[in-house]
């Protein structure tokens, strides 16, 4: 499974082991990533803007389109994988996903190397510059989030513009229209978003868990 994800950036498992809970699936497939002050299993339900916290996607976009982003992009080292599992399906709501490498293939190598962002808020009382493409001998990750990051240099602005001007048709569209449809995304190489939600789909319910690693 890890090798497929390394190559494609995501796996979509149609109606995957519906008899099992998401926690059981996670234990089978990898290692759950615990995040301080976050429940291990989060439930995602479309929420109107005014009913949501201002520092959340629902708080900003409500039933509207969620732009492409990587989760926890404002953290120095974000979680590696996220798993989305359908509890209450919807036929008309799509998760958009895109390999960041595809988005940036027309950008200059130096733009990618030099692009930096600043988190909008201090984290743990501190604020640091964050590279768009942060890498080390042990890892290589991309980060982007319209809501939580501001470009810190001209290269950062170029990357931000590339994301904002992207035609959504270039993204893969995954529709979690059956119970137990399971989508695993490599949060370090893929950006994801969500389509608009109509009122008829307001009951859509997705469970989300972060994974540290895969078997």
């Amino acid at each position: 499974m890890k090798s497929i994800l390394d190559e494609t950036g995501y796996i979509f498992l149609k109606e995957f082991k519906p008899e099992k809970t998401i926690r059981e699936i996670c234990s089978e497939l990898g290692q759950i990533q615990e995040i301080p002050n976050f429940p291990i299993i989060q439930t995602l339900k479309p929420t109107v803007q005014r009913e949501s916290k201002i520092n959340t996607y629902s708080g900003n976009y409500g039933f509207g389109i969620f732009p492409l982003h990587t989760d926890f992009a404002h953290w120095y080292l974000p979680p590696r994988y996220l798993m989305l599992r359908c509890i209450v399906p919807s036929k008309d709501v799509y998760t958009y996903i895109l390999q960041v490498n595809e988005l940036i293939k027309d950008l200059d190598r130096l733009t990618i190397l030099r692009a930096m962002f600043i988190p909008r808020k201090r984290i743990q009382g501190r604020i640091s510059l964050l590279r768009f493409n942060q890498r080390d001998k042990n890892y290589n990750l991309f980060r982007w989030d319209e809501l939580f990051l501001n470009p810190a240099n001209s290269e950062g602005k170029e990357v931000a513009e590339a994301f904002r001007s992207l035609d959504r048709k270039e993204c893969e569209e995954i529709c979690m229209k059956d119970i137990a449809d399971t989508l695993i995304i490599d949060n370090w190489s893929m950006a994801h978003g969500r389509s608009k939600v109509k009122l008829a789909d307001a009951e859509r319910l997705i469970e989300r868990v972060y994974l540290e690693g895969l078997n």
């Binding site: 990533q33 995040i35 926890f72 953290w75 120095y76 080292l77 974000p78 979680p79 590696r80 130096l110 190397l113 030099r114 930096m116 984290i123 743990q124 501190r126 640091s128 510059l129 964050l130 590279r131 942060q134 080390d136 042990n138 890892y139 810190a152 240099n153 001209s154 540290e212």
Partner: protein
């Protein structure tokens, strides 16, 4: 990998990102403005600290207070109002010089001087960067920056940008040319004086040089001006290799040349870049022999009562 909310402010990544930010500001300045020099010093300080923290953030922790080391290791000291303290930049440079032989003593001296200007700018009423033409410092500045970034396997242009890389390559090239020209002039001048000596004077000086070199530590080479035996001195690079031979401890240490002295013609060349320019830049090995007691610092034990007849039965 462990998720991390915010980076340790002493991480290699943090320092390099700061260097990128400062370098952008530096490039926005007019090259003749004092601000160009000022921001260049701030940029280089970030690069220097990044160089050490590439190995480990512990290397910049001020060891006088253990909590600084604890912080560098990624922990949160349980001390109220803790404020992490790192070593001063001079100490950073000394450590870099010891760890990375490519960072020569000349580079060390240049960098320290450059940082002293920054200190004077901030801590005094002096205008430390005004009236100093960039030709006097920018080539060496870029050479030092590139050397440090190379140690981190970081592209120069990732910090300074592509355009500046082209300028830097030109300036570093011209620095090498200038150094080569200057050392050749020195060698030629000594050669000319040497050629004007009589054969008997030369023979005597050659003999004296042989005797002198046999009585002093150094690596024997042929003097580039007069071909007599000259001595090359150097700075240690890397850890020594230790072996045992005939009950002696043999320590071999690789050395990077730093000075040349010839007592026959009086030629003296100082600085690795000049030595390299005249073909004397190869490393050499210094071999030392120790007896084990000397090497391990064991004092020889003598029976305090030996020869003391009062206590012998």
């Amino acid at each position: 990998m462990e998720i991390t909310k915010s980076s340790n402010g002493w991480s290699n990544e943090s320092f390099l990102n700061k260097a990128r930010r400062y370098a952008s500001i530096m490039k926005e300045q007019d090259r003749d403005s004092w601000l160009f020099g000022f921001w260049s010093a701030l940029t280089l300080e970030m690069i220097a600290r990044a160089t050490l923290t590439k190995i480990s953030p512990v290397l910049i922790a001020d060891g006088k207070e253990w909590n600084n080391i604890y912080f560098a290791l990624g922990f949160k000291p349980g001390v109220s109002k803790f404020s992490e303290k790192s070593v001063g930049i001079a100490e950073v440079l000394q450590r870099i010089e010891k760890i990375y032989p490519e960072f020569t003593h000349e580079m060390f001296n240049f960098t320290l001087t450059h940082f002293n200007k920054r200190n004077r700018e901030i801590h005094s009423g002096d205008l430390a960067f005004d009236g100093i033409g960039i030709s006097s410092w920018l080539p060496m500045y870029y050479q030092v920056s590139k050397t440090l970034l190379d140690q981190m396997e970081e592209d120069f242009e990732s910090v300074f940008g592509e355009e500046e890389k082209l300028i830097a390559d030109d300036l570093i090239g011209s620095l090498k040319d200038q150094t080569a020209k200057s050392v050749q002039e020195t060698i030629n001048a000594h050669k000319t004086v040497w050629e004007s000596k009589s054969p008997s004077a030369k023979d005597q000086l050659i003999e004296e040089a042989k005797i002198w070199s046999s009585r002093h530590f150094g690596h024997r080479v042929d003097c580039p001006a007069c071909n007599s035996v000259a001595l090359l001195y150097g700075n240690p690079i890397g850890p020594p290799t230790i072996s045992v031979e005939d009950n002696n401890i043999i320590e071999k240490q690789k050395m990077l040349p730093s000075n040349l002295e010839c007592v026959a013609c009086g030629l003296k060349i100082s600085g690795y870049s000049k030595l390299n320019a005249c073909g004397l830049g190869d490393t050499f090995t210094s071999t030392s022999r120790y007896d084990p007691a000397e090497y391990f610092g064991i004092e020889s034990y003598e029976n305090p009562y030996s020869g003391d007849d009062d206590y012998n039965d």
